[in-house]
Symmetry: C2
Subunit: 287 residues, 2 copies
């Protein structure tokens, strides 16, 4: 999504070129020899391209994107295809805990300020408080952690974890954010807690006319389908700043993605391809 973000002016190309570090890039080793930024790697790859060949609203009328669902909702409901209506709004924060590193063998328990224990207490409270809100379809994830010094003979003096929350409704997200921020109002196991915003995005709604073409195409083809939100970000989300845009989801086996067992059978992919073709023909006939 880095490229669609740049093309659609959500990211500044200069920032991307300078900022991305070598160790963050999933490119083949040979391209990375002797380069230290994304900009340098892009030049070296020979795929930099010309700015005047870019996606432009002057030359394109709309965009359809087909993608695997990356979740289990279609599989559970027995639908082959998801008629996507929006990309969920989200926020991403880091919760940081500051303690004191001391020796594992020599420092009495009552005087310790253990940042990993602090973070675990706060994470359990986070789940309790958010779950108590009872917001349907809310998802929240604490997937990335940093522990320092991360040595078995030392009490950690620093721990942080990411908090990613997604929902269609800005009011629902506001309630969740209030819980996240409330964790900073007290100490956890003697450790100060701090919340730092990484980024957020508002819910991006797809073009209603294009969504109706996807729905009609699925109906006419007799493909079982349902409306669905996208919880993941997609290129179409950036393209929506520029062009009328929509998406089609294909079932993911067990809802798994970005891991080895990710799988969608050919029959479902064919259904997705048939629906996108017929939806595109409808959009073409309409103009």
């Amino acid at each position: 999504m880095m490229c669609s973000g740049v093309v659609c002016y959500d990211y500044l190309p200069e920032d991307i070129r300078a900022k991305f570090r070598k160790e963050d890039m999933l490119l083949s080793k040979s391209i990375l020899d002797g380069v230290s930024t994304f900009g340098e790697a892009l030049e070296k790859s020979g795929f930099k391209g010309e700015e005047n060949n870019r996606l432009s609203p002057a030359r394109y009328r709309c965009m359809f994107e087909t993608h695997i669902e990356q979740g289990p909702i279609l599989e559970d409901s027995g639908d082959k295809i998801g008629v996507v209506d929006c990309v969920l709004g989200m926020f991403n924060y880091r919760l940081r805990f500051y303690g004191q590193t001391v020796h594992a063998g020599t420092f009495p328990m009552p005087k310790r300020r253990d940042a990993f224990y602090a973070a675990s207490l706060a994470l359990c409270r986070l789940h309790e408080e958010i779950d108590r809100l009872g917001i349907p379809d809310l998802v929240y994830t604490t997937g990335e952690v940093v522990c320092h010094p991360c040595v078995h003979t030392c009490v950690p003096d620093y721990f942080d974890f990411s908090v990613d929350a997604r929902h269609e409704s800005p009011e629902a997200l506001q309630k969740v954010l209030k819980v996240v921020l409330s964790l900073t109002e007290r100490e956890w196991a003697g450790c100060r807690c701090e919340a730092v915003k990484a980024w957020n995005r508002d819910t991006v709604y797809w073009d209603k006319r294009l969504v109706s073409y996807v729905k009609e195409a699925a109906e006419e083809l007799g493909v079982r389908h349902r409306y669905i939100h996208s919880g993941a970000g997609h290129d179409a989300q950036f393209a929506a700043y520029m062009l009328p845009t929509t998406m089609i989801f294909v079932q993911s086996k067990d809802g798994l993605s970005h891991c080895e067992p990710e799988f969608s059978p050919v029959s479902h992919c064919t259904a997705g391809a048939s629906v996108i073709l017929n939806a595109v023909l409808k959009a073409d006939a309409d103009d």
Copy 2:
């Protein structure tokens, strides 16, 4: 302690030479160029030494070691010197949690198996259960963590943390270990939990005669002192397999060690040096 472990036959030199990897070694960069094991780095350093120059019970009568306390006990009691009587027994385990990685935005909460959340729930339970045992002077530490894939948009499918527990009494350690192992008898947030032993050690008692010389030396010099256990491992602990051994502790400011604020004032170090000198003279006069 790697060297004292080898010299005193607790570790096999061949294992150490082959096993230690470059990234684990805190040696200067230039020594590490072109080497991949500790054995290779040792050869290159020019400090390998001769086996027949090693510490040997045939040529030494006993060993005294002075060290900073690395804890706040002496500072809190107002004593300059600790007369150390033993190195605490300990065990070290890893607790591993196995979940399923899924996408942060697309996978409904009730179906998730989040290994970081599982580990946090278990860590909170670990503290509750161990603290309920009410074992005086017990220390336990969960200082090292591994999280996979450790990405803010993915639910972690794997998390583990170290559990280090130390106490003089083997019965007390056995009670704590029972709590640690009991965590594996259930699932945590849908994740399987596994305990893997890393190592343990029994309490090593110092030579009673040498301990009494340290105590007498401190009394005769008018240095405020108290008996204390060592929670940390020390070279003297390995040397004790070979020779009568004991230790003297000097106050650590705020009990901090292995971090920048580690500090012991000159007056306390001088007291430590005076006590060791006089204790050594007593041992020498005795034989």
